[in-house]
Amino acid sequence: MDKTIALMAVLTILVVLPTIQLVFAAGTDAHEYVNRKVEIWNLFFKMMTIAFTVGAVVSGTLIWLVWRFRESNPNAKPTKYEGTDW
């Protein structure tokens, strides 16, 4: 339950607040045309940042997993299933 509330809070901050900001920004019409170069580059930059961050986390987790649970790791303990017929 607490976890659900926490998740909802995070979602609210990350989704609802930017939307509100967007709506207010739309109201203040300074009559400046959008600069395609800026908009498109910014979108590209944000998406690449997210893509590379997620990519680093996922591949980092996998690398850590393979390293940590390799057979030759001194810390590796046999699971309770090893040496049994299940």
């Binding site: 939307t19 967007l22 045309y33 959008v34 979108l43 944000k46």
Partner: protein
């Protein structure tokens, strides 16, 4: 689940959902900003053919290979072709739209700098494709 916690997985799932929602919203918003031409945008008809560009202004005047427009105004290009497919590109203003036979494709922009900028065909359209260029002249 026997005695082990899986909250990191739920956090990971939440973060991924949030990131995807953010990416989707952001892309949708930028696409909306970039695609929707303002009502006052002046229409310029762009006709591609092997191997040059013709421009027709709203008042009916035509230009070949050169396009004169004014800084700070919005322009909407209506792009088509008389023969094979081409693509209309003003690299410096990140304007790029295919010229497809039988269709009128639209793209709009508002130049914020005066000067001369190259126009180039970006769809291979035959022998002299490489030389299917033009000049955008933005006047103060």
């Amino acid at each position: 689940m026997s005695g082990h916690s899986n909250w990191p997985e739920w956090i990971y799932v939440g973060v991924v959902i949030v990131l995807l929602a953010y990416v989707g919203a952001e892309a949708w918003n930028v696409e909306r900003l970039v695609d929707r031409a303002p009502a006052e945008a002046e229409v310029i008809k762009v006709i591609g053919q092997q191997w040059f560009w013709t421009f027709e202004h709203a008042d009916g005047t035509k230009e070949v290979g050169e396009l004169h427009i004014k800084k700070g105004h919005a322009y909407k290009f209506e792009i088509t072709t008389k023969d094979v497919n081409h693509a209309f590109n003003i690299h410096d203003y990140v304007v790029l739209q295919d010229a497809v036979a039988g269709r009128i494709n639209e793209v709009w922009f508002a130049p914020d700098k005066a000067g001369e900028f190259p126009i180039q065909c970006r769809e291979y359209c035959g022998l002299l494709h490489y030389n299917m260029r033009g000049t955008l002249i933005v006047e103060e």
